[in-house]
Amino acid sequence: MSSQIPDTLKYAKTHEWVKVDGDTATVGITDHAQAELTELVFVELPAVGRALQAGEACAVVESVKTASDIYSPVSGEVIEVNESLADEPGAVNNDPYNEGWFFKVRMSDSSTPDGLLCAEDYKALIGE
């Protein structure tokens, strides 16, 4: 079954999605990533206020099968995290692009970050 890849988002090769709104980027993991990980049982998010560099490991997800780092696709300061994932990590499986968002970053450069993929290129990356 092919995964959902919304056209409105940008994607990192490490399977995070980014939604840019002004200077704020909302970050989560893709439908493909959650399916590969299988049922999530734990999500550890970065602290609000933490300064991130693009490509930096800043969160951890753990599924019934494995644990994996999550990388920030953008540089900037963490301004909000999805605290509900502490109690409901399964929201990432059920709704990865909405309820399952991870954190928001105020980007240090508000232009769309370089090196991110459009939906079509991400689709090609994962072989769909």
Partner: protein, 238 residues
């Protein structure tokens, strides 16, 4: 708590490597279960019932009275188990399920491609075939970073001595040039896999380990070896 969940005591712990531990979980008195070699159990601690992890059995179906799982320090569960679990602790266990099962027929050759802790179910395969003195050929092709990362090395070498139909072959992907390791280096590729095969129609391929290794094995078997998918069984995240 679902009815089929059982509390089991850790009866024995064995450090296989500095970051990898085998737990022997003792069945409670009167416990009986119908399970097969190659299946996995799901475990959780009594104080964190929502936080579960699944692990392949490293013991086999002839090992009754206990389950063994071999766990790498990975994530919160792996860290807690490797660093803190000890004899006498109790875990809740959801009984074995899964379809990653060895076809232990005499004419078959099981080529088992493993990466990292993905080798653990193949210990069960080799144990069962050896204990039953079967003629099924089993060849493990095991990819590790360095010689320090080989899980069950001594045990697999012993099984090779006991079972003429079992082979344990290791390749190291990140050894320095100066390392004296005389064995194979580099990733598992089609040429190495082809060397193991005498009759591809009787060969069944298994792959267990990180997603990238399993995806590569799938491509190798289906595309490069042109083998039908019925002869391939995959288990991601060992």
């Amino acid at each position: 708590m679902p009815k089929n969940v059982v509390e089991m005591e850790i009866d024995e712990v064995t450090m296989e490597l500095p970051d990898t531990k085998t737990l022997r979980l003792k069945w409670p008195e009167g416990y009986e279960t119908d399970f097969k070699t190659g299946q996995f159990i799901t475990v959780y601690w009594p104080d964190t019932p929502k936080y579960k992890r699944a692990y392949s059995l490293s013991s086999c179906a002839l090992d009754t009275g206990f389950f063994e799982v071999t766990i790498k320090r990975d994530g919160k569960m792996g860290t807690r188990i490797v660093d803190w679990a000890e004899k006498g602790n109790k875990l809740f266990v959801i009984p074995p399920v899964g379809r990653f099962l060895p076809v232990l027929e005499p004419e078959k050759h099981l080529v088992c491609i493993a990466g990292g802790s993905g080798v653990t179910p193949f210990r069960g395969f080799a144990r069962e075939a050896t204990l039953r003195k079967l003629e099924t050929k089993i060849t493990i092709l095991y990819s590790v970073r360095t010689t320090e990362d080989i899980i069950f090395n001594d045990e697999f070498r012993e099984l090779e001595q006991k079972n003429p139909h079992f082979k344990f072959n290791v390749t190291c992907t990140r050894l320095s040039d100066s390392d004296p390791w005389p064995g194979r280096r580099g990733r598992i590729g089609a040429d190495w896999v082809k060397e193991q095969i005498s009759n591809i129609n009787d060969t069944i391929f298994y792959a267990c380990g990180p997603n990238a290794l399993v995806d590569n094995a799938e491509r190798l078997v289906l595309e490069e070896l042109q083998c039908p998918k019925e002869q391939l069984k995959l288990e991601k995240w060992g």
